[in-house]
């Protein structure tokens, strides 16, 4: 069923009794051309673009939980492409362009809201670094504006401009950045893939990867039995090391937990996405009025989808330091998601040394904004066996070759990227 104003009126007149499920719940077939492990945003968008752009429709997406239960529903919904490095800017800009046309493309309301992403600078050095970043973006055709203090005060008067240690001096604004309703992204891609014949199999956990005598992948053992495939694609960020281990691969990844928070609903106050340059705090306001925010990961390795109180306290302190008025609000919910923290802070979309096995991993805490491009480029890789030109730097062997994409210049220490 195609969604439109007409379909809404038609359903309303029939008492909303004729809506059909957005996707089927099929039993797995014995064999598929492509199996995608992981029914998160990236896995579903990969299936969608494989079917829509690359003509491969005999696909299964295996999800151990239910659609939307993992990181695609656990992030702070921010989209942007304000990167610095050659390996990242074209990729994330491609993603932002896909976001801009996504709702028309997959016929689903994902509430893409380009409200602007503002990164604040608190020292002369940081302002210079943002000027450089803005220039790098503009040279790649991405929008960026450096705003001074006076311009910022007009846009966001509620910030703490005269903080004794971290005064606000400038801000780098990407107007095309913003937020998207994250679970609608999962549902929209799931529906779009399903409409094109992709089998989305929920509550199907992969326990082992089966390989033949030559070492080639031939299928997966699951709690619903063996399912064969020509190509196996792993999109299980958070648990990439666990799934790659089934094929005997060791990855340049550590798993960490990142927390996020939402306040009670308040009147509209935060019109943009704001990133605190003196900490790692970022905040936006949802259409329901809740302030959605987060900050650092918890620093210790964790596969638990829950975090530590010390990090909660740290996040709140950063928030109140930036926006003093926050201290009067109440936090409604907090949750954690587990992240693939890679060794240079950048992701991996690549073939593996094992035939028929493809890897999409290492998204750190920037995976949501990449969802469309990640799926598109991964689909390109799976279909054509070669990297899409915007993801050609995101190689698995770049660490061995010395071609890290270290946006923050922090070295091989996953918990500080």
């Amino acid at each position: 069923m195609r969604y439109s104003a007409y379909s809404i009126i038609k359903q309303a007149l029939s008492g909303n009794r004729l809506w059909t499920p957005a996707w089927r719940e099929p039993e797995p077939k014995p064999h598929y051309d492509v199996i995608i492990v992981g029914g998160g945003g990236h896995g579903l968008s990969t299936a969608y673009y494989l079917a829509k752009e690359f003509g491969i429709t005999n696909i299964a997406v295996l999800e151990k939980g239910y659609i939307g239960s993992g990181n695609v529903g656990r992030n702070t919904t921010i989209i942007r492409s304000n990167y610095l490095l050659e390996g990242n800017i074209p990729f994330y800009e491609f993603s932002l362009k896909l976001w801009e046309g996504l709702e028309q493309d997959f016929n689903y309301n994902a509430m893409v809201s380009q409200r602007g992403v503002m990164m604040l600078a608190h020292s002369d050095g940081q302002r210079d670094a943002y000027a450089r970043r803005g220039n790098a973006m503009r040279m790649h055709g991405v929008d960026a504006e450096l705003l001074d203090r006076k311009q910022l005060q007009t846009l966001m008067p509620y910030l703490n401009y005269d903080h004794a240690r971290f005064p606000i001096l400038a801000g780098l604004l990407q107007k095309r950045g913003g937020t998207v309703r994250h679970d609608a992204v999962a549902w929209g891609y799931a529906r779009g893939a399903d409409m094109r014949g992709v089998d989305i199999i929920q509550h199907c956990e992969v326990n082992a990867i089966r390989r033949d005598e030559q070492g080639r992948v031939t299928g997966v053992e699951t709690n619903k039995g063996f399912i064969g495939c020509n190509k196996l694609a792993l999109a299980t960020a958070g648990h990439s090391s666990e799934t790659a281990r089934m094929a005997g691969l060791e990855l340049p990844i550590e798993t960490h937990v990142l927390q996020a928070f939402v306040s009670e609903g308040i009147k509209p106050v935060v019109d943009h996405v704001i990133v605190y340059g003196a900490g790692h705090f970022y905040i936006s306001q949802s259409d329901k009025g809740g302030l959605v925010f987060g900050a650092d990961i918890d620093y210790y390795s964790s596969y638990a989808q829950r975090g530590n109180l010390a990090t909660v306290e740290h996040t709140m302190e950063e928030g109140v330091s930036l926006i003093p008025g926050l201290s009067r609000g109440k936090v409604l919910r907090a949750w954690g998601g587990v992240m693939d923290m890679s060794m240079d802070g950048s992701p991996i979309i690549d073939r593996t040394p094992i035939d028929n096995l493809y890897l999409n991993a290492g998204w750190c805490y920037g995976g949501f904004k990449a969802t469309p491009a990640s799926g598109f480029c991964f689909a390109h890789l799976i279909a054509k066996n070669e990297s899409h030109h915007v993801s050609r730097f995101l190689r698995l062997d770049r660490f061995e070759r010395g071609h890290m994409i270290d946006e923050a210049g922090k070295g091989p220490q996953p918990n500080i990227h």
Partner: protein, 90 residues
């Protein structure tokens, strides 16, 4: 996560006193192959479950420690001084 860590030198202390380095790996001998160095610097076993991790008691004795714990249940099984952890190849 365990909010209290029992430092072998300082006793039971709040987690906020520590900073965390990452997986506790024995540093290889300088003469090992490039492949071994690549494995040491970049590749991680990253298990789900029992895990040894370097913690620095930054606001205490300033010793490097190895915290042996479970990264799913957050149980802490033991904390030892990193000096006793040893080097591979020695």
């Amino acid at each position: 996560m365990a909010s209290l860590i029992t430092c072998p030198h300082c006793g039971t202390r709040p987690k906020e006193e520590f900073s965390i380095r990452g997986t506790a790996l024995g540093r290889p001998h300088p003469a090992v192959s490039e492949e071994d160095w690549h494995r040491y610097v970049y590749l991680r076993d990253n298990p789900k479950g029992r895990y040894q991790e370097y913690w620095h008691h930054a606001a205490g004795c300033r010793r490097w420690l190895v915290v042996d714990r479970d990264n799913v249940t957050h149980d802490v099984f033991g904390v030892t001084d990193a000096a006793t952890f040893g080097r591979v190849g020695e």
